[in-house]
Protein backbone atom coordinates (compact mmCIF):
# COMPACT_ATOMS: atom_id res chain seq x y z
CA UNK A 1 0.00 0.00 0.00
CA UNK A 2 1.54 3.24 -1.04
CA UNK A 3 1.32 6.37 1.03
CA UNK A 4 -0.71 8.79 -1.06
CA UNK A 5 -0.93 11.62 1.42
CA UNK A 6 2.71 12.52 1.63
CA UNK A 7 5.36 13.07 -0.91
CA UNK A 8 7.90 10.43 -0.06
CA UNK A 9 11.40 10.09 -1.30
CA UNK A 10 12.32 7.07 -3.36
CA UNK A 11 12.38 3.87 -1.33
CA UNK A 12 15.57 2.47 -2.77
CA UNK A 13 19.06 3.72 -2.14
CA UNK A 14 19.83 7.11 -3.55
CA UNK A 15 23.59 7.17 -3.42
CA UNK A 16 24.90 9.85 -5.71
CA UNK A 17 26.95 8.63 -8.66
CA UNK A 18 30.58 8.08 -7.83
CA UNK A 19 32.83 8.68 -10.78
CA UNK A 20 35.87 6.61 -11.53
CA UNK A 21 38.38 9.39 -11.14
CA UNK A 22 37.24 10.37 -7.67
CA UNK A 23 36.95 6.74 -6.66
CA UNK A 24 40.57 6.07 -7.42
CA UNK A 25 41.74 9.23 -5.76
CA UNK A 26 39.95 8.24 -2.61
CA UNK A 27 41.07 4.64 -2.45
CA UNK A 28 44.62 5.90 -2.25
CA UNK A 29 43.86 7.65 1.05
CA UNK A 30 41.89 5.36 3.31
CA UNK A 31 40.56 6.84 6.53
CA UNK A 32 42.94 6.50 9.40
CA UNK A 33 42.47 7.20 13.05
CA UNK A 34 44.40 10.31 13.93
CA UNK A 35 43.37 10.42 17.57
CA UNK A 36 45.26 8.81 20.40
CA UNK A 37 43.82 5.46 21.57
CA UNK A 38 42.36 7.09 24.69
CA UNK A 39 41.13 10.23 22.98
CA UNK A 40 37.43 10.73 22.34
CA UNK A 41 35.86 12.57 19.47
CA UNK A 42 34.72 16.06 20.42
CA UNK A 43 31.17 16.12 21.77
CA UNK A 44 28.62 18.88 21.37
CA UNK A 45 25.71 18.70 23.80
CA UNK A 46 22.97 21.25 24.42
CA UNK A 47 19.71 20.93 26.30
CA UNK A 48 16.38 22.63 25.89
CA UNK A 49 16.15 22.97 22.12
CA UNK A 50 12.61 21.66 21.60
CA UNK A 51 10.10 24.06 23.13
CA UNK A 52 7.11 21.74 22.94
CA UNK A 53 8.76 18.95 24.92
CA UNK A 54 9.20 18.99 28.68
CA UNK A 55 12.89 18.20 28.22
CA UNK A 56 15.12 17.94 25.20
CA UNK A 57 18.76 17.69 24.19
CA UNK A 58 20.90 17.61 21.08
CA UNK A 59 24.09 15.58 20.79
CA UNK A 60 26.71 15.63 18.09
CA UNK A 61 30.00 13.88 17.53
CA UNK A 62 32.36 15.57 15.13
CA UNK A 63 33.45 13.56 12.10
CA UNK A 64 36.59 11.72 13.08
CA UNK A 65 38.49 12.40 9.85
CA UNK A 66 37.45 15.71 8.37
CA UNK A 67 37.97 15.54 4.64
CA UNK A 68 38.48 18.54 2.46
CA UNK A 69 35.18 19.67 1.02
CA UNK A 70 36.64 20.21 -2.38
CA UNK A 71 37.76 16.62 -2.72
CA UNK A 72 34.33 15.18 -3.30
CA UNK A 73 30.94 16.48 -2.42
CA UNK A 74 29.66 13.15 -1.22
CA UNK A 75 32.74 11.96 0.60
CA UNK A 76 32.08 13.00 4.12
CA UNK A 77 33.36 11.23 7.16
CA UNK A 78 30.42 9.92 9.15
CA UNK A 79 29.31 11.95 12.15
CA UNK A 80 26.74 11.20 14.79
CA UNK A 81 23.82 13.56 15.36
CA UNK A 82 21.04 12.78 17.80
CA UNK A 83 18.12 14.73 19.14
CA UNK A 84 16.19 13.58 22.15
CA UNK A 85 12.86 14.79 23.47
CA UNK A 86 11.27 13.78 26.75
CA UNK A 87 7.50 14.08 27.12
CA UNK A 88 5.94 13.91 30.53
CA UNK A 89 5.60 12.84 33.26
CA UNK A 90 2.10 12.60 31.89
CA UNK A 91 -0.94 10.71 33.15
CA UNK A 92 -1.32 7.14 31.97
CA UNK A 93 -4.17 6.38 29.60
CA UNK A 94 -7.42 5.35 31.26
CA UNK A 95 -7.08 1.78 30.09
CA UNK A 96 -3.61 1.33 31.57
CA UNK A 97 -3.33 -0.73 34.74
CA UNK A 98 -2.24 0.93 37.96
CA UNK A 99 1.46 1.60 38.28
CA UNK A 100 3.03 2.84 41.51
CA UNK A 101 6.10 3.91 39.55
CA UNK A 102 7.00 6.08 36.62
CA UNK A 103 6.56 4.08 33.43
CA UNK A 104 9.41 4.60 31.01
CA UNK A 105 9.04 4.10 27.31
CA UNK A 106 11.87 4.67 24.88
CA UNK A 107 11.82 5.01 21.15
CA UNK A 108 14.74 5.37 18.80
CA UNK A 109 14.10 6.27 15.20
CA UNK A 110 16.58 6.70 12.40
CA UNK A 111 15.71 9.55 10.11
CA UNK A 112 15.24 8.34 6.52
CA UNK A 113 18.37 10.28 5.61
CA UNK A 114 20.44 9.13 8.59
CA UNK A 115 22.60 6.79 6.56
CA UNK A 116 23.60 6.52 2.94
CA UNK A 117 20.97 3.88 2.40
CA UNK A 118 17.56 5.47 2.83
CA UNK A 119 15.29 3.96 5.43
CA UNK A 120 11.57 3.60 5.70
CA UNK A 121 9.40 5.04 8.45
CA UNK A 122 8.45 1.71 9.97
CA UNK A 123 10.64 0.86 12.97
CA UNK A 124 12.84 -2.12 12.33
CA UNK A 125 14.39 -4.70 14.61
CA UNK A 126 17.63 -2.80 15.10
CA UNK A 127 15.86 0.31 16.30
CA UNK A 128 13.71 -1.64 18.71
CA UNK A 129 16.78 -3.42 20.01
CA UNK A 130 18.56 -0.13 20.63
CA UNK A 131 15.47 1.23 22.39
CA UNK A 132 15.38 -1.79 24.69
CA UNK A 133 19.04 -1.27 25.57
CA UNK A 134 18.40 2.41 26.23
CA UNK A 135 15.49 1.58 28.47
CA UNK A 136 17.62 -0.64 30.71
CA UNK A 137 20.27 2.05 30.85
CA UNK A 138 17.79 4.72 31.94
CA UNK A 139 15.58 2.69 34.24
CA UNK A 140 18.43 2.35 36.71
CA UNK A 141 18.83 6.09 37.24
CA UNK A 142 15.24 7.25 37.48
CA UNK A 143 13.60 7.52 40.89
CA UNK A 144 10.30 6.18 39.62
CA UNK A 145 8.58 6.08 42.99
CA UNK A 146 8.22 9.85 42.98
CA UNK A 147 5.91 9.76 39.97
CA UNK A 148 3.17 7.21 40.55
CA UNK A 149 0.48 6.72 37.90
CA UNK A 150 2.49 8.56 35.30
CA UNK A 151 4.72 7.78 32.38
CA UNK A 152 7.41 9.43 30.31
CA UNK A 153 8.28 8.96 26.68
CA UNK A 154 11.88 9.31 25.60
CA UNK A 155 12.09 9.77 21.85
CA UNK A 156 15.41 9.88 20.07
CA UNK A 157 15.81 10.70 16.42
CA UNK A 158 19.10 9.76 14.79
CA UNK A 159 19.69 12.54 12.31
CA UNK A 160 22.98 11.16 11.15
CA UNK A 161 24.11 7.69 12.04
CA UNK A 162 27.55 6.29 11.79
CA UNK A 163 28.24 4.00 8.90
CA UNK A 164 30.14 0.81 9.25
CA UNK A 165 32.15 1.26 6.13
CA UNK A 166 33.34 4.58 5.00
CA UNK A 167 32.82 5.76 1.46
CA UNK A 168 36.37 4.86 0.67
CA UNK A 169 35.83 1.16 0.99
CA UNK A 170 33.97 -1.06 -1.39
CA UNK A 171 30.93 0.32 -3.11
CA UNK A 172 29.00 -2.88 -2.73
CA UNK A 173 25.47 -3.00 -1.43
CA UNK A 174 26.64 -3.77 2.10
CA UNK A 175 28.40 -0.50 2.61
CA UNK A 176 26.52 2.57 3.71
CA UNK A 177 24.17 0.71 5.96
CA UNK A 178 24.12 1.32 9.67
CA UNK A 179 24.27 -1.70 11.88
CA UNK A 180 26.90 -3.70 13.58
CA UNK A 181 29.64 -1.64 15.11
CA UNK A 182 28.09 1.71 14.35
CA UNK A 183 25.16 0.79 16.59
CA UNK A 184 27.48 0.67 19.59
CA UNK A 185 28.49 4.32 19.24
CA UNK A 186 24.89 5.29 18.59
CA UNK A 187 23.71 3.58 21.77
CA UNK A 188 26.41 5.28 23.78
CA UNK A 189 25.38 8.66 22.38
CA UNK A 190 21.71 7.87 23.01
CA UNK A 191 22.37 7.14 26.67
CA UNK A 192 24.18 10.44 27.16
CA UNK A 193 21.65 12.54 25.27
CA UNK A 194 18.66 10.90 26.97
CA UNK A 195 20.23 11.53 30.36
CA UNK A 196 20.61 15.22 29.53
CA UNK A 197 17.02 15.48 28.29
CA UNK A 198 15.57 13.72 31.33
CA UNK A 199 17.39 16.08 33.65
CA UNK A 200 16.20 19.02 31.55
CA UNK A 201 12.65 17.76 32.07
CA UNK A 202 13.16 17.88 35.84
CA UNK A 203 12.66 14.20 36.54
CA UNK A 204 14.35 12.82 39.64
CA UNK A 205 17.49 10.77 38.97
CA UNK A 206 19.96 9.19 41.34
CA UNK A 207 22.92 10.13 39.18
CA UNK A 208 23.99 11.12 35.71
CA UNK A 209 24.24 8.18 33.37
CA UNK A 210 26.60 8.45 30.45
CA UNK A 211 27.52 6.07 27.70
CA UNK A 212 30.98 4.98 26.69
CA UNK A 213 32.37 2.69 24.01
CA UNK A 214 35.67 0.84 23.78
CA UNK A 215 36.77 -1.66 21.18
CA UNK A 216 39.57 -4.12 20.54
CA UNK A 217 40.97 -3.19 17.17
CA UNK A 218 43.38 -4.87 14.77
CA UNK A 219 46.42 -2.82 14.01
CA UNK A 220 48.61 -3.20 10.94
CA UNK A 221 51.91 -3.62 12.71
CA UNK A 222 51.22 -3.87 16.43
CA UNK A 223 49.20 -6.41 18.42
CA UNK A 224 45.48 -5.67 18.91
CA UNK A 225 44.80 -2.76 21.20
CA UNK A 226 41.87 -1.21 23.03
CA UNK A 227 40.65 2.08 21.57
CA UNK A 228 38.16 4.42 23.19
CA UNK A 229 35.26 5.73 21.13
CA UNK A 230 36.09 3.80 17.96
CA UNK A 231 34.79 5.10 14.66
CA UNK A 232 34.20 1.97 12.57
CA UNK A 233 35.36 3.60 9.38
CA UNK A 234 38.72 4.46 10.92
CA UNK A 235 39.70 0.91 11.62
CA UNK A 236 40.45 -2.02 9.44
CA UNK A 237 38.83 -4.55 11.68
CA UNK A 238 37.16 -4.44 15.05
CA UNK A 239 37.37 -7.66 17.04
CA UNK A 240 35.11 -6.85 19.95
CA UNK A 241 33.39 -3.80 21.36
CA UNK A 242 31.68 -2.87 24.59
CA UNK A 243 29.10 -0.16 25.39
CA UNK A 244 28.45 0.83 28.94
CA UNK A 245 25.97 2.99 30.82
CA UNK A 246 27.86 4.20 33.85
CA UNK A 247 27.04 6.16 37.01
CA UNK A 248 30.24 7.69 38.27
CA UNK A 249 29.17 8.93 41.68
CA UNK A 250 27.95 5.50 42.69
CA UNK A 251 30.37 3.51 40.54
CA UNK A 252 27.50 1.50 39.15
CA UNK A 253 26.68 0.14 35.73
CA UNK A 254 23.14 0.23 34.36
CA UNK A 255 23.83 -1.14 30.91
CA UNK A 256 26.50 -3.36 29.44
CA UNK A 257 26.51 -4.55 25.87
CA UNK A 258 29.41 -6.41 24.31
CA UNK A 259 29.67 -7.73 20.83
CA UNK A 260 31.77 -10.51 19.36
CA UNK A 261 34.37 -12.46 21.21
CA UNK A 262 37.60 -11.08 22.49
CA UNK A 263 39.13 -14.47 21.85
CA UNK A 264 38.95 -13.69 18.15
CA UNK A 265 41.62 -11.09 18.61
CA UNK A 266 43.94 -13.47 20.38
CA UNK A 267 43.77 -16.23 17.79
CA UNK A 268 46.47 -14.89 15.55
CA UNK A 269 48.67 -13.64 18.34
CA UNK A 270 48.51 -15.82 21.41
CA UNK A 271 51.22 -13.95 23.21
CA UNK A 272 48.98 -10.92 23.67
CA UNK A 273 45.89 -12.23 25.36
CA UNK A 274 43.16 -9.66 25.64
CA UNK A 275 40.85 -9.86 28.57
CA UNK A 276 37.30 -8.78 29.06
CA UNK A 277 37.76 -6.59 32.10
CA UNK A 278 40.26 -4.14 30.61
CA UNK A 279 37.81 -3.60 27.76
CA UNK A 280 35.01 -2.78 30.21
CA UNK A 281 37.35 -0.54 32.20
CA UNK A 282 38.20 1.39 29.08
CA UNK A 283 34.52 1.78 28.22
CA UNK A 284 33.99 3.16 31.73
CA UNK A 285 36.77 5.63 31.09
CA UNK A 286 35.04 6.80 27.93
CA UNK A 287 31.79 7.21 29.88
CA UNK A 288 33.57 9.25 32.56
CA UNK A 289 34.97 11.55 29.89
CA UNK A 290 31.52 12.04 28.36
CA UNK A 291 30.18 12.89 31.81
CA UNK A 292 32.30 16.03 31.95
CA UNK A 293 30.55 17.31 28.84
CA UNK A 294 27.16 16.36 30.27
CA UNK A 295 27.81 18.21 33.53
CA UNK A 296 28.85 21.36 31.70
CA UNK A 297 25.77 21.23 29.47
CA UNK A 298 23.47 20.79 32.47
CA UNK A 299 25.13 23.57 34.44
CA UNK A 300 24.82 25.92 31.51
CA UNK A 301 21.09 25.36 31.04
CA UNK A 302 20.40 25.26 34.78
CA UNK A 303 22.01 28.64 35.31
CA UNK A 304 19.73 30.15 32.70
CA UNK A 305 16.71 28.55 34.35
CA UNK A 306 17.73 29.72 37.83
CA UNK A 307 18.09 33.29 36.61
CA UNK A 308 14.78 33.38 34.77
CA UNK A 309 12.90 31.70 37.61
CA UNK A 310 14.22 34.32 40.01
CA UNK A 311 12.61 37.01 37.95
CA UNK A 312 9.49 34.94 37.60
CA UNK A 313 8.95 34.10 41.25
CA UNK A 314 9.66 36.93 43.67
CA UNK A 315 9.72 34.40 46.50
CA UNK A 316 12.75 32.61 45.14
CA UNK A 317 14.55 35.87 44.54
CA UNK A 318 14.14 36.80 48.17
CA UNK A 319 15.63 33.57 49.51
Amino acid sequence: MTDRRRINGPLGGTAPPVFVSSLTSKTTSPAKRTRAPDELRKIFLKTGLTPSASGSAYFELEPSTPTAASECLASKAPALKLTCTVHGPRPLPRSAPFSPQLLLSTRIKFAPFAARQRRGYIPNVGERDLAAHLETALRGVLIGERWPKSGIDVVITVLEGEEDNSWNKGQSGESGRTGGWGMMSILSGCITVASAAIIDAGIDCIDLVTGGVAAVVRQPTAPPQVFLDPCPSDHEEIFAACVIGYLQTRDEITELWTKRSIMASTDDNRANTMEFEPLVDQAVEAAVAARLVLIEAIKESTEVKVQTSQFGHPKNAAS
Partner: protein, 240 residues
Protein backbone atom coordinates in the same frame (compact mmCIF):
# COMPACT_ATOMS: atom_id res chain seq x y z
CA UNK B 1 18.22 31.97 55.44
CA UNK B 2 21.50 32.56 53.74
CA UNK B 3 22.84 29.44 52.02
CA UNK B 4 26.10 28.34 53.58
CA UNK B 5 29.16 28.37 51.41
CA UNK B 6 29.39 24.58 51.55
CA UNK B 7 26.40 24.12 49.24
CA UNK B 8 27.26 24.36 45.55
CA UNK B 9 25.45 27.10 43.60
CA UNK B 10 24.26 24.63 40.97
CA UNK B 11 23.56 21.00 41.75
CA UNK B 12 22.99 18.18 39.30
CA UNK B 13 21.75 14.63 39.94
CA UNK B 14 24.27 12.56 41.83
CA UNK B 15 26.15 15.48 43.34
CA UNK B 16 26.80 14.84 47.05
CA UNK B 17 25.39 17.69 49.13
CA UNK B 18 26.19 16.69 52.69
CA UNK B 19 26.11 13.92 55.28
CA UNK B 20 22.72 12.71 56.47
CA UNK B 21 23.89 13.20 60.06
CA UNK B 22 23.94 16.96 59.56
CA UNK B 23 21.07 17.49 57.12
CA UNK B 24 17.63 16.12 56.31
CA UNK B 25 16.87 15.25 52.69
CA UNK B 26 14.05 17.34 51.22
CA UNK B 27 12.38 17.43 47.82
CA UNK B 28 14.78 17.16 44.91
CA UNK B 29 17.32 15.18 46.89
CA UNK B 30 17.73 11.58 47.89
CA UNK B 31 19.61 9.62 50.50
CA UNK B 32 22.24 7.15 49.43
CA UNK B 33 21.99 4.67 52.27
CA UNK B 34 25.38 2.86 52.04
CA UNK B 35 27.35 6.10 52.33
CA UNK B 36 24.64 7.93 54.33
CA UNK B 37 25.14 10.94 52.10
CA UNK B 38 22.46 13.19 50.68
CA UNK B 39 22.74 13.48 46.92
CA UNK B 40 20.95 15.81 44.56
CA UNK B 41 18.35 14.24 42.30
CA UNK B 42 17.39 17.31 40.28
CA UNK B 43 19.37 20.01 38.54
CA UNK B 44 18.96 23.33 40.25
CA UNK B 45 20.00 25.53 43.13
CA UNK B 46 20.06 23.78 46.52
CA UNK B 47 18.23 25.58 49.32
CA UNK B 48 18.73 25.07 53.04
CA UNK B 49 15.68 25.37 55.28
CA UNK B 50 16.06 25.39 59.07
CA UNK B 51 13.86 22.83 60.81
CA UNK B 52 11.43 23.35 63.63
CA UNK B 53 12.87 22.64 67.10
CA UNK B 54 12.22 18.88 67.58
CA UNK B 55 14.14 18.01 64.42
CA UNK B 56 17.47 19.72 64.62
CA UNK B 57 18.93 19.12 61.18
CA UNK B 58 18.21 21.66 58.45
CA UNK B 59 16.58 20.37 55.28
CA UNK B 60 18.33 20.47 51.93
CA UNK B 61 15.98 20.72 49.00
CA UNK B 62 16.24 21.58 45.34
CA UNK B 63 13.24 23.40 43.92
CA UNK B 64 12.11 22.14 40.56
CA UNK B 65 12.96 24.67 37.88
CA UNK B 66 10.61 25.74 35.16
CA UNK B 67 11.75 26.19 31.59
CA UNK B 68 12.87 29.71 30.73
CA UNK B 69 9.97 31.95 29.60
CA UNK B 70 11.13 31.91 26.00
CA UNK B 71 10.45 28.20 25.92
CA UNK B 72 7.16 28.26 27.77
CA UNK B 73 4.11 28.08 25.50
CA UNK B 74 2.59 31.14 27.13
CA UNK B 75 4.98 33.92 28.16
CA UNK B 76 4.04 33.86 31.82
CA UNK B 77 6.46 32.59 34.38
CA UNK B 78 4.56 29.71 35.90
CA UNK B 79 3.50 27.85 32.77
CA UNK B 80 5.56 24.91 31.78
CA UNK B 81 5.42 21.63 30.02
CA UNK B 82 6.56 19.90 33.14
CA UNK B 83 3.83 18.52 35.31
CA UNK B 84 3.61 19.00 39.02
CA UNK B 85 2.09 16.06 40.81
CA UNK B 86 -0.54 17.05 43.34
CA UNK B 87 0.08 16.00 46.90
CA UNK B 88 -2.33 15.26 49.68
CA UNK B 89 -3.96 18.52 50.67
CA UNK B 90 -3.04 20.36 47.46
CA UNK B 91 -5.69 22.77 46.30
CA UNK B 92 -6.30 22.14 42.61
CA UNK B 93 -8.35 23.77 39.91
CA UNK B 94 -10.16 21.41 37.58
CA UNK B 95 -12.80 21.25 34.88
CA UNK B 96 -15.80 18.95 34.98
CA UNK B 97 -15.86 16.54 32.07
CA UNK B 98 -18.63 14.17 33.08
CA UNK B 99 -21.33 14.02 35.72
CA UNK B 100 -22.48 10.60 36.87
CA UNK B 101 -24.88 9.59 39.62
CA UNK B 102 -22.14 8.53 42.07
CA UNK B 103 -19.24 10.71 41.08
CA UNK B 104 -18.16 13.68 39.02
CA UNK B 105 -15.24 13.16 36.63
CA UNK B 106 -12.92 16.13 36.40
CA UNK B 107 -9.52 16.91 34.91
CA UNK B 108 -6.96 18.88 36.89
CA UNK B 109 -5.74 22.03 35.20
CA UNK B 110 -3.56 23.61 37.86
CA UNK B 111 -2.00 22.56 41.15
CA UNK B 112 -1.60 25.10 43.93
CA UNK B 113 1.86 25.73 45.29
CA UNK B 114 2.43 24.66 48.84
CA UNK B 115 5.20 27.02 49.76
CA UNK B 116 2.63 29.44 51.14
CA UNK B 117 3.32 32.07 48.52
CA UNK B 118 0.14 31.32 46.61
CA UNK B 119 -0.04 30.81 42.91
CA UNK B 120 -0.47 27.66 40.90
CA UNK B 121 1.58 25.44 38.66
CA UNK B 122 -0.24 24.84 35.43
CA UNK B 123 -0.31 21.20 34.44
CA UNK B 124 1.12 20.40 31.06
CA UNK B 125 -1.28 17.50 30.74
CA UNK B 126 -4.72 16.97 32.15
CA UNK B 127 -4.66 14.65 35.14
CA UNK B 128 -7.82 12.75 35.85
CA UNK B 129 -9.62 13.04 39.15
CA UNK B 130 -13.05 12.33 40.58
CA UNK B 131 -15.22 13.99 43.18
CA UNK B 132 -17.22 11.17 44.75
CA UNK B 133 -20.76 11.81 45.86
CA UNK B 134 -19.89 11.65 49.56
CA UNK B 135 -17.06 14.19 49.12
CA UNK B 136 -19.18 16.91 47.54
CA UNK B 137 -20.19 18.61 50.77
CA UNK B 138 -19.66 18.13 54.47
CA UNK B 139 -23.26 17.97 55.68
CA UNK B 140 -26.25 15.92 54.58
CA UNK B 141 -24.00 13.75 52.50
CA UNK B 142 -26.74 11.25 51.82
CA UNK B 143 -28.91 13.86 50.10
CA UNK B 144 -26.28 14.97 47.60
CA UNK B 145 -27.28 14.70 43.96
CA UNK B 146 -24.25 15.08 41.70
CA UNK B 147 -26.29 16.59 38.89
CA UNK B 148 -27.46 19.43 41.16
CA UNK B 149 -23.94 20.36 42.18
CA UNK B 150 -21.97 20.33 38.94
CA UNK B 151 -22.39 20.67 35.21
CA UNK B 152 -19.99 19.71 32.47
CA UNK B 153 -17.60 22.59 31.78
CA UNK B 154 -17.67 24.09 35.29
CA UNK B 155 -14.36 25.10 36.81
CA UNK B 156 -14.05 23.63 40.28
CA UNK B 157 -11.70 24.24 43.15
CA UNK B 158 -11.02 21.08 45.13
CA UNK B 159 -8.59 19.60 47.58
CA UNK B 160 -6.74 16.29 47.08
CA UNK B 161 -7.89 13.73 49.60
CA UNK B 162 -5.38 11.93 51.74
CA UNK B 163 -7.44 9.00 52.85
CA UNK B 164 -5.74 6.63 50.47
CA UNK B 165 -2.28 8.07 50.94
CA UNK B 166 0.55 5.61 50.63
CA UNK B 167 3.95 5.65 52.22
CA UNK B 168 6.40 4.62 49.61
CA UNK B 169 9.55 2.77 50.33
CA UNK B 170 12.15 1.43 48.02
CA UNK B 171 12.98 -2.29 48.09
CA UNK B 172 16.65 -1.83 48.78
CA UNK B 173 16.10 1.02 51.21
CA UNK B 174 18.14 3.19 48.92
CA UNK B 175 16.08 6.27 48.44
CA UNK B 176 13.35 5.15 50.78
CA UNK B 177 14.49 7.23 53.68
CA UNK B 178 13.98 10.40 51.76
CA UNK B 179 10.68 9.20 50.36
CA UNK B 180 8.91 8.99 53.67
CA UNK B 181 8.47 12.71 54.09
CA UNK B 182 8.93 13.81 50.51
CA UNK B 183 6.14 11.91 48.87
CA UNK B 184 2.74 11.48 50.29
CA UNK B 185 0.34 11.02 47.47
CA UNK B 186 -3.28 10.11 47.36
CA UNK B 187 -3.35 7.40 44.80
CA UNK B 188 -7.10 7.25 44.52
CA UNK B 189 -7.96 4.40 42.22
CA UNK B 190 -5.84 3.14 39.35
CA UNK B 191 -5.97 6.30 37.31
CA UNK B 192 -7.86 8.96 39.25
CA UNK B 193 -7.07 11.21 42.16
CA UNK B 194 -9.87 11.66 44.68
CA UNK B 195 -10.88 15.24 45.33
CA UNK B 196 -13.14 16.77 47.92
CA UNK B 197 -15.23 19.94 47.75
CA UNK B 198 -16.57 19.58 51.29
CA UNK B 199 -15.50 23.02 52.50
CA UNK B 200 -16.99 26.47 52.13
CA UNK B 201 -14.23 27.81 49.92
CA UNK B 202 -14.30 24.75 47.66
CA UNK B 203 -16.70 24.03 44.84
CA UNK B 204 -17.66 25.57 41.53
CA UNK B 205 -15.91 28.87 40.94
CA UNK B 206 -16.83 29.48 37.33
CA UNK B 207 -19.90 28.30 35.48
CA UNK B 208 -21.79 29.07 32.32
CA UNK B 209 -25.56 29.00 32.07
CA UNK B 210 -27.60 27.01 29.57
CA UNK B 211 -27.67 30.16 27.44
CA UNK B 212 -23.88 30.17 27.49
CA UNK B 213 -23.34 33.25 29.63
CA UNK B 214 -20.90 33.40 32.50
CA UNK B 215 -22.88 33.31 35.71
CA UNK B 216 -22.40 34.98 39.09
CA UNK B 217 -22.79 33.21 42.43
CA UNK B 218 -25.73 34.40 44.50
CA UNK B 219 -25.80 31.89 47.35
CA UNK B 220 -23.98 28.82 48.60
CA UNK B 221 -25.98 26.67 46.22
CA UNK B 222 -27.01 28.89 43.32
CA UNK B 223 -25.54 30.76 40.38
CA UNK B 224 -27.49 33.37 38.40
CA UNK B 225 -27.20 34.28 34.76
CA UNK B 226 -26.96 38.11 34.76
CA UNK B 227 -28.50 38.39 31.28
CA UNK B 228 -31.45 36.01 31.31
CA UNK B 229 -31.88 36.09 35.08
CA UNK B 230 -32.20 32.31 35.30
CA UNK B 231 -30.91 30.52 38.35
CA UNK B 232 -29.00 27.26 38.31
CA UNK B 233 -28.02 25.12 41.26
CA UNK B 234 -24.36 24.41 41.93
CA UNK B 235 -22.10 23.56 44.86
CA UNK B 236 -20.77 27.11 44.97
CA UNK B 237 -17.33 27.96 46.32
CA UNK B 238 -17.28 30.88 48.70
CA UNK B 239 -15.59 33.79 46.94
CA UNK B 240 -12.60 35.13 48.82
Amino acid sequence: MAAPTSLPPIAYPGLPLGPSTAYTPGPGTHLHAPSSTIHASLAGRPVLTPQKPPASNPTISIPRLLPPPARAPVPSANVGNTNTLPRVGSVVLCRVVRVRTRQVDVVMLAVGREDGGGGEDVCGDEWQAVVRKEDVRATEKEKVVCGDGFRVGDVVRGVVLGTMSMWLFNDDGDVGGAMADVVQISLGDQSNYYLSTARNELGVIMARSEAGNTMVPISWKEFRDPITGERESRKVAKPF
